[in-house]
Symmetry: C2
């Protein structure tokens, strides 16, 4: 079982990395870009025998407690 976690800065929070990528794209001639957000991607390989619901709960807990900073970041957790 695989868990994919995407952590992005909240919309209201300054995203200097995103701004830099946006400017770089514009300088290199890639037009039509209206906004860029840069975040983190975490892929976790889990024991295939693990219970899906328990895994979801423990990972959501880990996301909230230490993988993301819930004050300035949002996370999305997908299990597959």
């Amino acid at each position: 079982m695989k868990a994919k976690i995407i952590i992005t800065p909240k919309k209201a929070v300054l995203d200097p990395q995103g701004k830099t990528v946006k400017n770089a794209l514009a300088h290199l001639g890639y037009t039509g870009v209206s906004d860029v957000h840069v975040g983190k991607y975490i892929e976790i390989d889990l024991d295939p025998a693990a219970d899906r619901e328990t895994a979801r709960q423990t990972l959501a807990d880990a996301c909230h407690k230490f993988l993301s900073n819930p004050i300035i970041e949002d996370y999305r957790l997908e299990l597959e």
Copy 2:
């Protein structure tokens, strides 16, 4: 139109961030984690009128040239 780019270290490359997250999860009692990979996630908002195929090509080019380091990283590009 939105482009989502996921950049991950290649399997053969050391991933110290992934190792750290794996160890941290184990220390905090989250068992059943066999491997962790940490990468980057870039979300790009594009002009809705832009041509899909052109956008895909220019973004693939940007990914290859400066968003990722193709020697040590893989990227996945999704348009939606």
